[in-house]
Symmetry: C2
Subunit: 343 residues, 2 copies
């Protein structure tokens, strides 16, 4: 298949072409950048939705419920799982796996799990590029499921249009999220396993934290950059952008609360489309991508045709005996790069 034929088939939504393109991109095989460059002008139709939260929050079950619901609505859905604890990536309970495989048999669904290559929760550029492929192939929704522990939720938010943060009552995760600033990453909160004790309490805590955030912003005493320019009162029901993240109760294993979640995701889309924030968010995403792609291209050159590989190999012994250091070698490499010298 020529590159042109591959691109045409991908844009026509043909699954074998998509699978081949994913493989090319994931493995950075020759031509992968040309392929991505060619489809770049065709991106943007898909809505990208992140589902994140701590291990055990039920993200995969919720993801499958969303996939099923969107399929019933006639939408094509792509799923990218970067969660090492997810059934999509091997951490499944048997029941989950069976459900997942039923979903995966549907030709309107494309599921891909991505290795995280050592930096857990670290969403690589190639993960984002696989989302591009799904977008280009005409999938209406691209769902990114990723484990959130600490700060990785913010990374998910930067790569999606809407991010759903899933928490569960029994762990201290709710409190953790409120403390660590992770809540800034959520466009929609979900308290999953809502049939368990503590769910209403967790919901109230999150609502309270949202109140406090709104209050801090209104008083100008906050440090939440993304919320600057607030004009409303502490008791206002929306952030300055006109969107206050709703806090929903779901029991994904019983398909409860899914309709409300779908409605919230759509409402968030409508709100940010109307106020121009969607465009701003996507532009920031593009800037991120340019930064990453440029850095990756230069790094690859550096260690192949560039001066780094040979210099580092030549200096390892000396560094091991303390005669030079990694920092001295870096200075040598940098001098070679600046002078355009090919070692």
């Amino acid at each position: 298949m020529t590159d042109r034929a591959l691109l045409d088939d991908l844009l026509a939504g043909k699954i074998p072409a998509l699978a081949r393109a994913v493989s090319i991109v994931e493995n950075a095989r020759p031509g992968f950048e040309g392929l991505l460059a060619a489809l770049h002008p065709r991106l943007g139709a898909a809505r990208r939705i992140g589902v994140t939260g701590p291990p055990g929050a039920g993200k995969s079950t919720l993801t499958m419920q969303l996939v099923s619901a969107w399929r019933r609505a006639g939408l094509r859905v792509g799923v990218v799982a970067v969660d090492p604890t997810s059934p999509f990536t091997g951490g499944a309970l048997l029941g989950d796996r069976i459900r997942m495989e039923q979903v995966a048999l549907d030709p309107g669904v494309f599921i891909r799990s991505m290795a995280t290559r050592g930096s857990l929760g670290g969403i690589t550029t190639s993960t984002r590029e696989v989302c591009d492929l799904l977008d280009a192939a005409g999938f209406d929704r691209v769902l990114v499921e990723t484990v959130g522990v600490g700060q990785s939720e913010l990374e998910v938010q930067r790569m999606t249009d809407t991010t759903v943060l899933v928490l569960v009552p029994e762990s201290g995760d709710g409190i953790q999220a409120l403390k660590s600033g992770v809540m800034e990453a959520a466009d929609v909160f979900v308290v999953n396993k809502a049939d368990r004790q503590g769910a209403p309490k967790l919901r109230r805590e999150i609502e309270l934290a949202l109140d406090l955030r709104a209050g801090r912003v209104a008083r100008g005493g906050g440090h939440h950059g993304a919320l600057g320019g607030a004009r409303q009162r502490p008791d206002a029901q929306a952030t300055p952008e006109g969107w206050r993240p709703p806090v929903l109760l779901t029991t994904a294993a019983k398909a409860e609360g899914i309709d409300e979640l779908l409605a919230a995701i759509d409402a968030h889309w409508d709100a940010q489309s109307a106020n121009g924030l969607l465009e701003a968010r996507r532009r920031a995403r593009l800037a991120d991508r340019m930064h990453a792609v440029v850095g990756r291209a230069v790094d690859r050159w550096l260690w192949t045709d560039g001066p780094a590989r040979e210099l580092v190999a030549a200096r390892l012994d000396a560094a091991a005996r303390g005669a030079t250091s990694p920092y001295d070698v870096a200075a040598e490499v940098l001098a070679a790069v600046r002078e355009g010298v090919q070692v």
Copy 2:
């Protein structure tokens, strides 16, 4: 304080100098590379120990027990916490925090929590550099506590001399670890919260997995690169390197099993010192560091004096309307770098 005075004070183990050096390194302030280059020949006396495992496994409590025990033995101990769920970094329960603060009041202990900057579990180069500072300042043990979910354990193993993988009975973590190949990262296994149901079972499962690994290796049917070249039988009690990771039971909250853990850490040190693997491991670590430091230096140049920043800013609008793409811009930047052109 001149750079020379700072270096001298740091090497003399003076805590204010250490604190200042850590701040300089963490923030990549001017001179940080020169400082690290100057102390590079003085590194190696500290034993670096990783404590990793899933959230809730009790890593922080175990870390504090190790710190206390080493202090009683007269050793100075540095702790670097890159675990966002750790009490050192803010995710504390009150009891943990109080215990942590008691430890922190001891001048023979230096504790530093590191931000993970969005890539959770992602151990940055500056984390490793802070370990260098602790080593240079004469700390006998440098303990790195990090949350392990998925593959980040392997990263910890690459930055330490001995890595302790902490698991707990109640979660499926044991099984997860066995599945995902994470067990390759462990030099010592700890089943913590051993007073809970399921601890002996988890221990047996890990032992069984170690047996299977040894068997696979002996039959040559495994795919564990690190264990290649095995010559022993399936029932052998050690890996080809002569070290079979012990599986210990601890109840860190009650200080139970800590002596055995200390002995196992020392035994691992002795074993790899004797067979030359310690030197090999440290050399691989140095190669990693050189790679990272060179890459970082070139990347910083790229976005300051190099051609990337201006080109990317100039092309963002065009990329947003599809007239160019991140990949075309990367090619432009790379061409400028290769030609030694300063845009």
